[in-house]
Structure formats: C-alpha cells, structure tokens
C-alpha cells in the first residue's frame, strides 16, 4: 500500500504535559522552551549572527535624504543639493556627508512601496514585515530573533534603546519581549540600566541578597524541581543573579570602557551614543538591538528641521555605527536594517513640508552578508512611486530574516492554532546577497 501523505498539518495537544523539567534553556520563557523541540534550526550558512534595527519614527522623507531628484520641478525638488559618495554614481543629500564617506558599507533600497499612510499601521507593517490585520498582532523582528536564536548567557537577547513601542511580541507572547533600557546613554558615562545597574550596592550586597532569597525560599521543597512553573522561576532567578553579577553585562552598557578610536567615530548626541551602545551590546552577545531616532514627521518646515536636527543626528550615528561595526570586525556578522514607516510626499505642501507617503520610501540594509555600496530599486522621475518593480516591506523583511539564517516562510502557530508564516508575503531580494 502506498504511504499516505497527510497534509492537514496541525497536530493538536490537549495541554502541555507537566513532566520532569530538565533545565530550561537559559533566557527562554516556558512555551519557548517547550516549543523548541518542534522547530527547525537556523541556516548555518547565513552570515548574520545578530541584528540592529534602526527605527526612524515619523516617516523620513526619501526626497531629501537618499533619493534626491535634482531634475524634478520646483514643486517637488526640495532645497538640498546632492553630494558624491564613496560609491561612484551614488549620491546623497549634502547634509549626510559622513554617510557619503561610508556608502560602500550599506545598500540603499529605493522605491520601497506600500499603501498604509497612518503612523500606527505603517509602523506595524515595517516593524513586523507583515501588513497589519485587525485580528492578528504580528511579532516584531526582535521577538522572532529571540525565539529563533540561542540566547546569550549573561545578557538579554533582545534590547531596545530606549523602548520598542507597542505590541513588541505580538502573538508570540511576553517571553520574547525586549529588555527596554528606558533611556538613551550619555557620552562618556556608564549607562545605569534598570535591573542590571547596581545603584548604591556592591557585588557583595548582590551575593548577600541572593543567599537570603535562597534561605527563605524553601516552601515547596523538592517539588520545586518537578513543577514546571517553579522550576522555571528558579532558572530565571539563577540567570538574573548571574546577569546582575556579570562584569560582561555591566561593561556592555558602560561606554567608558570603549576605546578612544571607536568612541571618536561618534558624536555625543543621544542617537549616536545609542549606536555606539548597540555595537557594544552586539559585541557582548546580544542578538537584537532596536534603536530609535524620531522627529521625521515633517509636515512643515521640512528643510530647516532636517538640516538643523535630524540629518546631522542620523549622519553621525549611522556612519559611526557602520564604521564601528567594521572596525570591530562585526559588520559581516551583524545585519542592520534602517527604516521609517513610510516616505513623504514628493510634492511640497503649502507649509513648506511634506506629508505621509507610503508609495515611495527608502530603507537601508547592511551587514549579515548583504552587499553594501549598491542601490537596489528606483523611484520614478519625481519620486512618486517605484520606477519599475516595487520592493515591498515584506520583501525587505524576508531579506532581513534570511540574512540571519531565519527562513522567512517558516510557520508558527498562533495561540489560537492558526498557522502563520514569519513573513507571509515576502520574497528575498536577490541583489542584496549577490
């Protein structure tokens, strides 16, 4: 008899069985631990071993940053001039001089396009790689990465500087959530992060407190080893203690420990220092870092705001990030994805600004085996839409996951049993990996 192929897929289980618990993987939440068994692994050939996601909240204009249209009519063109970069034929805005010098380190995606012109929806789209649905919250990339990758021992897998925003984990649940620093680092100072910083106490105090908890925490006796919740709590206690004691963890957040050569690549502004912090975190084993640079919602006074504030900050921070990663030998193994939630109207509005415009936007991608120094895709003559093919946020997301060895078509089951792919509708952009 021929073998039957049953394709219906979903295997059901009454409820997770309580069984003997044999060591949760450190850093894993319980369902994550229990789910590991049924999962496929990472692609070992992928170059990306960690990721940095830079969120430009508000929706940065493509027309005045990485996709200028000097030949467009006055109604569209904008005030800024183009400058040459270190990649022949690739030009940026004149207010991005430092990035122009490292243009070979990252790829510029032009003509990325979608249709959601509201901040909340656009953000959900670009931060998850899936077009938002009212009935389903998708997990952010960071949550997927902390689920898929082996978590570091002394540090959280997923750090957000200073925060991640709404719905960080979507249907995956809190155990994949970000460690939010709540603040940005200050130049030349160790960062006092919540939970890790020892405020007014010494390591001896940490030890003493840890011993004290152990002494009084005897109520469940040996049953604590057999009960999955209690055993899980003990594992997390041990890891928390290890992290609080960890020199590595503390030094990862201590910018004073950085060499002058690296520190010198950044200015002393919060975003730049966050970028510096990200390089240290990745160096120490953190798998995913979210960085934030907001203020891009330039409905009015677009050019003054860009040249006085946003572009210098972006220029210093990102150029420092790429250079420092390279200097530390981490650029190849770290996937970087820089994006806003949409572009801005090519046509200048009456308030000397630009409005929301998802039809054309830009993204930057670097590291993780993605080829820098190239422009992929193009917008049309006036920057009003993709010129030939449109790159969708889903494609960018699929490429980002692919660079990390995560199969974007891999299926998860939501808690309601619905099968959903990590990126439901994207195709890996081949040029990035050529």
């Amino acid at each position: 008899m021929a073998t039957h192929t049953f394709c219906d897929g979903v295997q059901r289980r009454d409820f997770l069985k309580v069984g003997a618990v044999s060591g949760f993987g450190l850093g894993l939440g319980l369902p994550q631990f229990l789910a590991k068994a049924e999962e496929g692994g990472l692609n070992p050939k992928a170059k990306g071993k960690a990721a940095i996601f830079v969120r430009l909240a508000g929706g940065p204009t493509h027309m005045d940053t990485f996709d200028l249209k000097p030949d467009a009519p006055d109604t569209h063109r904008g005030e800024f001039k183009e400058i040459k970069t270190n990649v022949p034929g690739v030009r940026f805005s004149e207010h991005l001089p430092k990035l122009a010098k490292v243009a070979d380190k990252f790829a510029i995606l032009r003509g990325v396009s979608h249709t959601l012109a509201a901040h909340a929806l656009g953000t959900q789209y670009l931060m998850t790689g899936n077009r938002p649905l009212p009935s389903l919250r998708y997990p952010s990339y960071g949550a997927v990465v902390s689920k898929e990758m082996e978590n570091p021992k002394e540090l959280p897998a997923f750090v957000a500087v200073p925060s991640q925003g709404n719905y960080p984990t979507g249907y995956l649940g809190v155990e994949y959530g970000p460690f939010e620093t709540g603040a940005t680092p200050t130049a030349g100072q160790p960062m006092q992060v919540r939970g890790l910083a020892l405020r007014g106490i010494t390591l001896d105090d940490v030890d003493r407190r840890n011993n004290m908890v152990a002494k009084y925490d005897q109520a469940f006796g040996s049953f604590a080893k057999n009960d999955k919740i209690l055993a899980g709590m003990d594992e997390f206690s041990a890891k928390a203690y290890q992290m609080m004691r960890s020199t590595k963890a503390r030094e990862a957040f201590d910018l004073t420990k950085e060499s002058a050569g690296i520190t010198g690549l950044f200015d002393d502004q919060p975003f730049s220092q966050s970028c510096l912090l990200a390089t240290r975190l990745v160096e120490s084993g953190v798998k995913f870092v979210t960085l934030n640079l907001g203020g891009w919602d330039t409905h009015n006074d677009n050019w003054n705001r860009l040249k006085d504030r946003n572009l210098p900050a972006l220029d210093a921070g990102l150029s420092g990030l790429f250079s420092a990663l390279e200097e530390k030998g981490l650029l190849e193994s770290t996937s970087v994805f820089v994006t806003g939630e949409f572009g801005r109207t090519p046509k200048i509005n009456q308030r000397v600004g630009r409005d929301h415009y998802p039809r054309a936007m830009f993204c930057l991608m670097a590291g993780g085996g993605m080829q820098g120094g190239q422009v992929i895709g193009a917008s049309d003559a006036k920057g009003e839409g993709p010129k030939d093919r449109a790159i969708s946020p889903d494609d960018v997301a699929a490429s980002f996951m692919h660079s990390l060895g995560i199969d974007p078509t891999k299926e998860y089951h939501t808690p309601t049993g619905r099968p959903v792919m990590i990126v439901r509708d994207g195709t890996v952009i081949p040029e990035l990996f050529s």
């Binding site: 850093g27 890790l196 910083a197 890891k239």
Partner: protein, 926 residues
C-alpha cells in the same frame, strides 16, 4: 491489496443490541473493493469529498492551499461541494481532469496513482477501494449530488470509549454516519481521525487507536461536518475500581470529579491548610493579599464554617468586583487604544475607563450576567430613542467634564464594544462577538471549513449577517432633523482660530484647544455614536457589480439571512437585528453562552478550563469533565445567570480547596483537578501585592476600599497612548486585549520579571518610599531613611562649614594682646577675650555637635549589637505581609540572625522584605 479485519476488544466495550446490528453494516472496503463493476455507486458528497479530505488532497499543503497546487484547488478541509465539483470537472470539455468517455484517462484518476507526474506522490494503489470510489464516480457521470443526499444528521462511533489496560493496547473504531433521510452507513474508511494528545493515544488512518501513555484524552472522528470525540484512557495507577481509596465527595462538583479520578486511577491531594486556603482564596477572588490582621483573625477562628463564610465575605468586597470587571474587560476586548468616539476628542478622554466603570458597577451589584451582556450587545449611544443629537452630546459631556463628572456607569448601555476600531467590519464584529460571549473561535470559518468544528463558510456568512448594520459613526440621522454632528462640528470650526487660507494652519490642530476646553468645561463636542443603520435596499446594475467586484472579490449582492451558530435561520423582521441574537444568546438551550462564562470562571480558579483553551469551545475539544460542565452551566442558567452562584459553587468544593502537595498518582495531573496547580500571580495582582506588602497601614486600609488606586481595577486600564504606562504590567503579561484570545493574558515566568523584582529601581524605591511601611517604621524608631540621611548629612556639613567660617571671623575680631604696661588697654582686652572665649566655646560646641551627628549618620562599619525590643514582631509582620503566614521557628531564627547583622532595624527589615518578595512562595498562588 490485502483485506484486513479488525476485531473489537470485547472487554472494553458494551454495546446495545441495536448497535450490534449496525456493527454489521458493510465497510467501505466491502462495498467498494474488488472489481469496479461490482462496487456500489459512490456519492460525491458522501464518499468522494470525504475521501479527498481524508487522504489529504484538500489539505492546506496540497490542493486545499489558497493558491491550489498544480492549477488545481479544492476547498480547504472540503466542504464547499459546489466549488469542489466545479474545480474537478471544470475542464470537462477538454477531458483532462475528468474524462467521461475514458474515465481512466482522467487526471483526477491518474495523478493519485502517480501514473503521471504528481507532486503529492502515490496516494493509493490501483484497484484499491479508494481508487474504485473515484473511478466509479467518474464512470457514472461525475455528478454533484448534494441535493439528493440531503442533510447530514450525526455521527456515531463504536465503542463509546476506550479504557486501555496496558501500554500498546489497540482498538479498532467504527464510525457510522446518520443522514437526515434515515440512511445509516459505515463511514470508517471515509473518516479523518485525530488525537487530542499524542502522548496518551495515537490513531492511524484506518481508525485503529493505540494507547501509548498513561492519562486520558480523546480521539476525534471527522466526517462531513460531523465531529465526534471519543474518550480514551489508560489509568495512571492500579488504584482503580475496588482498589480505589475512599474519597469524601459531598458537593455535586466533587462527586463528578472523584468519579472521573476513580476511573483514571488518580487519588486527589488532601484539602489545604487554613493559611493556604486564606491566601489562595483571597488572591483568587479579590486579586489582593490578605492583610496581616486577616491572617491572624482567620487562623484564630474556631468556626467550622469559616471557609464558606470567608468566601461569601470576599465576594461582597469591592475588590472582587474590580478584579472581575477587569477580567470581563479582558474577554470583552476593552483596549484603550482601539476605542475612539471622535477624531477631535483629546486623547486623555478615557473611554476605556467608562467601560470598566460600567462593568464594575454591575459586577458589584451582581447584576445577572445576561443583563450585563445585553447592555453591551444591545447598546446604543443615545439614552433613549427620542434623545436628540445635541442632548446626546451634552450627556457625553457630562460624563467627561473636569468638575464633578457624572458616572458613566449610570448610562443605560455600554456602547464602546461596538466602537472599537478593530471591529469596523461585520466579520470582525462576528468574530469578536463569538469570542467574547460564546467562547467560540469562528475565525477559521471566515475563509474555509473549520478544521476542528462543524462551522462552514456558509455558517460564518449567515452569522455575520447579524452584524452588518451595527454602526459606529456620525450619520445617525433618523432621529434628528438635519445632521447634528455636522452642525456641531461646523460650530466648533467657527470658534477655532483658523484661517483656511493660511497654509501654515491645520484645521484639526486649530480645533484641538477649542475641543479640549469644551470637554473640560462639560460643553458638547462632536461625538460619534453607536446605532443601527437603516437597511439598504440598493439595487446595483451589472456594471456596478462588476466594478465593485474588482475591488472586493467577495462582494455579494445576495442578501444573506442571518443564522445563529448551530441554529436556525432567523427571519429578521426586527428593526434591530441584535434583538433575536440576544434572545438566542440568553435562551437556556444556547449551547455556548452559559458554558463560556462558567468555563472561564473555572479556568480562573483551576488554571485551566474544563474546556481548554477556555475560549475554544468546539466539538473536537470536549470538557475534561462533562458532569462538572453540565452542573455549572445548567445551574448558572437556573440561578438567573447569577455570577456569584458560579463562584460560590466552585469555591466551596474540596476540589478548589485541595493542597498543591502531590502524591504518586497525581503529580502529573493538570486536567482532572486532583490538586491545586501552582501558578504565578497575574500582572495586576502581583503589582498590587508588592504595593500592599510594602505599603503603610494607611495604604493597606485604602487598598481594601478604594479601587481607583488598584492595578486590579481602574488604575491599570491605560489610555489611548498605549502600554508605555506601566513597565511592570507589560513584562508580567497584562493583556492588550486586541487579539480575541484569552491567551493574551499570560502568567508564564520570564527573566525580565525576575530582574524586575530583584533589582529594578522602581521596585527598590517602593520598599523605601515615603509613606511606605518601612518609612513608618523608621519614624517610629527614629531612624532616618537613606534619603533623609543624605539630606541631614548635607545640612550638617553646611553647618560645620558655616561654623568654621564664623570662627575665622571671630578670631579676626580679637585684637592683639596689649603690652603689660598698659593696664587700661589690657583690661579692655581681657573683657574682649572673655567674650571671645565664650563665643568660641559656643561655636566649638556646635561644631562638636554637628561632627558627632554627622559621624552617627554616616554608615558605620559593624552592626546592631543586640536586637531591639519588638524585632520578632517585625519579622512576623514581614512574613504576614508577604507570605500571609507566620514564620516557622527556623525562619524566625534566620530572621533574628539576619536582622542582627543589619546596620539598623529598619534596614534589616527592608532586606528581609526584599528577600521574601523574591521567593517563589510570594510570587505564586499555591
């Protein structure tokens, strides 16, 4: 192909005479095996489609995929007969997939035999009965016969249950299909089988069950839209039947539970101690730790009825109402980020709080659950049908003004359920309604036949029809002359400082200050409202339909008659389609409404529902104890939907009051309720517990009465801005209430939670905060807190500096000693010297004093030499505040030792408090 025969294992089955007759019905193999021309005539609906489904052809990864496979698409899980028939026979002319002249040449026949390339491989052998079914169906004209077969009635499976004796025991199932026309046939060969727990029993495609582990679960049979679960089990111990110990069971629930336990060989744990019971029940019912005094009083009481009295007392507390208003809000999807009633409203107008307050009042009054739900389901924004738009806007203003706002809880209805932005479409409304009030997940059926339940896409669409006209908007013009919303908006525009010609101005931005001021002052602003849209009798021209279909392929001009889930169609002659829906909901025959509620209450107390997941009532997912479910559901309806009846009925059982301490038979039991399953405190409860344990006596008192400051109540509702409000609640899994899933609330421990309770500045600050318990203690013992200390240090240091300065100045005033030959001058000098010395002595003394004080304030090496009086009481209080029990003798000794090592008594207690807050015993309910 070899014929196989399966014999029933007689010991496990007892069949009635009638059933035995049905046993003799011919099997698929007997009917369709052998030579094709001798086989029976197969039916499309009864045989072809179920077989395609069973063989996986219409599965998600094969032709059931929405893209199809190899240009051939079947409806997922096969229930769209018309569509499937069309797909199979579409190319009849070209005789490719189905070739009526030469049936053997049909791709539909060749592919599964892999006579031509087939990505799905070889599905069955040539000449097998499966092959015969498909071939003969084509030979006989490949007809669609849904009309002829008529409706499916029900499934029957033999045996009715399977209790294994040992690992590896097997059992052949037999499945009968009953059709409405009276036909009964053996459909075992056409039935899809699944196990609900592959670690207990497995089942193969022939319907042979195999016991692979101890415990109990179900094997489920799927055929047409019949779904039938069959209990299977292997007792976990030899303590079954006569060997089972005597276990007392007095309540109906306990009787049902012990009956099941007896069968599965599980002996329940003993009943928990008084101190365990008190902490558990107080946390579970009121989301609050018992206070130190409550613990002392309860343990001291000799009243034999003290437990049931405590349950009644707890159910009468405001904290019960607050915690259950929050829980009901979880199920109802009260997400602050989704509710907006006007684009102009300032974001701090908290409609989510309206919702909470409205539910809180009704839970506090113990209003019948069906009435509470009616107020949400049937809600209209206007208080009565005659209310004009302006009066409505004024009424809303009265609830949201700054000074003496009226209580929204007084509003007749709670309209914000329908105002959610994630409920704009009728299908979204249908799914949310089914989730919130029925505990049923129908979302699968939006696109395809539900894989584990009876629901088809047609069922979904008929159900959706109830929700088509429920609207949140500003076009409710029926009751008014003109458009009140528009008029009010225009009026506001005139009031705003807005020049439409100025390009730098933005209307909404200009309106904002006007609206804000008016809301604060209680003046009307343009509120949208929930209402029932008038029926549209629009006729579309074919061109229009063509155009709309381009945008929306699912567009359908056919009016679908609403049909409740699993019920009959309803001739909706009502002005409001929700009227019959509500009548169905609260009818005592409703299979879901009461069950969904009691199951969720059960899940709250037992950490899993009778049906689990608790919001997934479906045919393939039966309750682990049907007796308990029926008792509670029927009792709930009979009580007039009295919510407290359900709570009392559950809380007074031994099952709820059992210890977490396990025995050899029940240590792995997490679904038969033989022990208390330890679980982490929910986010809000944990946050409140920490605040209560560290709070002053004043706060402890306030926590009992003032729910506005409680995380289990209104203060964790959040606002439109979202979750940034509270870091702790976020990492401890407070639900965002957006996904139609009870699973959004999680109580899984994570690393970030531990880092929080161990070392987060927010946590540590709470311990030593002003107005906290330790602050009280310090005042009592006159011990400055670290902050006070620092302030004093700075002050004394300044004083010392000032004194030194004065000393220098003083020295400057002292003249040189004159020569001895000038007695006049000398006398003056001596007088001055005397004054000087007096003053110097004063300053010196002050300096000594300050220096002494400073030395005392600065942390001293060393420690308390002896424990002050009252230390033991403080240790006891610390235990009562956190673990709700007295310290053991050993713990008291440890506490004394730890305290005596501390710098002062307050610091000692603080460290002990922090340690106890970090024990598992504190963070779980047990």
């Amino acid at each position: 192909m070899m014929r196989r025969f399966y014999f029933l294992i007689a010991a496990a089955v007892s069949l009635s005479g009638a059933a035995v007759a049905k046993e003799q019905l011919a099997t698929a193999e007997q009917r369709f095996g052998g030579a094709t021309d001798e086989a029976e005539s197969p039916s499309f609906r009864r045989h072809v489609v179920p077989l395609a489904s069973k063989l996986g052809c219409s599965g998600r990864e094969c032709h059931g995929s929405f893209q199809g496979r190899g240009d051939f698409q079947l409806s997922l899980f096969g229930y769209d007969f018309g569509k499937d028939h069309k797909a199979i026979t579409a190319d009849e002319e070209h005789r490719i997939r189905v070739n009526l002249d030469q049936p053997e040449e049909s791709l539909f026949i060749q592919k599964p035999l892999k006579q031509v390339k087939h990505k799905g491989g070889e599905i069955y052998d040539e000449g097998s009965w499966e092959h015969n079914v498909m071939l003969k169906w084509i030979q006989e004209g490949a007809k669609l016969d849904v009309e002829e077969t008529g409706a499916f009635d029900r499934l029957e499976v033999f045996p009715k249950e399977f209790v294994g004796k040992k690992l590896g025991d097997t059992m052949q199932l037999k499945v009968l299909a009953h059709w409405k026309d009276g036909t009964v046939e053996d459909v075992t060969g056409f039935t899809r089988f699944d196990t609900n727990d592959e670690s207990v029993a497995t089942v193969n495609e022939l319907g042979e069950v195999k016991i692979v582990g101890k415990g109990d679960s179900h094997i489920v049979a799927f055929y047409d839209n019949g779904v039938l679960p069959l209990p299977v089990m292997l007792p976990v111990s030899d303590q079954v039947g006569a060997k089972y110990p005597k276990v007392k069971a007095t309540t109906p629930i306990d009787k049902a539970i012990v009956t099941k336990l007896q069968k599965v060989g599980i002996v329940p744990s003993d009943v928990a101690t008084d101190q365990e019971f008190l902490r558990r029940v107080t946390l579970d019912v009121t989301g609050t730790l018992p206070t130190a005094k409550e613990v002392k009083d309860f343990l001291a009481s000799k009243d034999p009825k003290k437990r049931s009295k405590k349950i009644d007392e707890l159910l009468n507390r405001p904290a019960y109402a607050a915690w259950w208003a929050t829980k009901l809000n979880d199920f109802q999807g009260n997400s602050p980020q989704q509710i907006r009633a006007s684009q102009y409203l300032p974001r701090d107008v908290n409609l989510s709080s309206d919702w909470y307050n409205w539910v809180y009042k009704r839970v506090l009054e113990n209003q019948p659950y069906d009435k509470l739900v009616e107020g949400i389901v049937m809600a209209s924004s206007r208080s009565n049908p005659e209310q004009s738009y302006m009066d409505y806007a004024k009424e809303m203003a009265s609830y949201h003004r700054d000074k003496n706002p009226k209580d929204f809880a007084e509003h007749k209805d709670m309209p914000w359920f329908w105002a959610r932005r994630n409920l704009r479409q009728p299908e979204e409304k249908a799914m949310a309604f089914a989730y919130s009030f029925l505990g049923v997940r129908i979302q699968c059926a939006q696109c395809h036949k539900h894989p584990f339940d009876q629901w088809t896409q047609a069922d979904f669409n008929s159900f959706k029809a109830f929700f088509e006209r429920i609207t949140m908007g500003n076009q409710n013009l029926a009751q008014d002359k003109g458009n009140g919303y528009r008029d009010l908006t225009n009026k506001l525009r005139e009031m705003a400082d807005y020049d439409p010609k100025d390009p730098n101005q933005n209307l909404n931005r200009a309106l904002r200050p006007v609206v804000e001021k008016r809301v604060a002052a209680g003046e009307p602003v343009p509120w949208q409202e929930v209402y029932i849209r008038a029926e549209q009798n629009r006729r579309y021209t074919p061109e229009q339909i063509e155009r709309i279909k381009k945008r929306n392929p699912n567009f359908n001009t056919r009016v679908i008659t609403p049909k409740v889930l699993g019920g009959d169609t309803m001739d909706v002659k009502y002005p409001d389609p929700r009227t019959p829906l509500m009548a169905w909901l609260r009818a005592k025959e409703n299979p879901y409404f009461a069950r969904a509620f009691v199951n969720r209450v059960w899940a709250h107390y037992f950490n899993r529902g009778l049906v689990e997941p608790a919001d997934d009532l479906n045919l393939a997912n039966p309750p682990t104890n049907a007796g308990v479910m029926e008792h509670l559901a029927q009792g709930f309806v009979a009580s007039g939907y009295d919510m407290k009846w359900v709570h009392r009925e559950i809380l007074n059982t031994d099952a709820y009051q059992r210890s977490w301490r396990v025995n050899a038979t029940n240590e792995h039991d997490d679904k038969n309720f033989s022990r208390y399953v330890i679980r982490r405190l929910p986010a809000e409860v944990a946050a409140d517990a920490i605040r209560l344990a560290t709070g002053s006596s004043e706060r402890v008192a306030e926590f009992a009465s003032n729910m506005d400051m409680r995380m289990i109540g209104n203060s964790s509702v959040g606002n439109y801005r979202g979750r940034s409000a509270n870091y702790m609640l976020g990492i401890f899994g407070k639900p965002q209430r957006e996904n139609n899933c009870d699973c959004e609330r999680t109580v899984d421990p994570t690393l970030l939670q531990t880092l929080y309770t161990r070392n987060d500045p927010e946590m540590l600050t709470q311990l030593s905060a002003r107005g906290g318990w330790l602050d009280e203690l310090r005042r009592e013992h006159k011990i400055p807190s670290a902050a006070d200390n620092q302030r004093l240090i700075v002050r004394y240091q300044a004083n010392i500096k000032a004194a030194r300065r004065r000393l220098v100045q003083l020295q400057a005033t002292l003249p040189k000693k004159p020569a001895a030959d000038k007695p006049g001058a000398l006398k003056v000098y001596e007088a001055k010297l005397k004054t000087y010395q007096k003053q110097k002595e004063k300053i010196d003394s002050a300096l000594r004093d300050y220096t002494q004080k400073l030395t005392e304030l600065r942390p001293q090496p060393g420690a308390l030499r002896e424990l002050p009086e009252g230390a033991e009481e403080l240790i006891t209080e610390t235990f009562l505040r956190t673990l709700s029990r007295y310290p053991t003798h050993k713990e008291m000794e440890l506490g004394r030792a730890d305290l005596s090592k501390a710098k002062d008594i307050a610091e000692g207690v603080q460290e002990l408090l922090l340690a106890l807050l970090n024990t598992k015993e504190f963070m779980v309910n047990h």
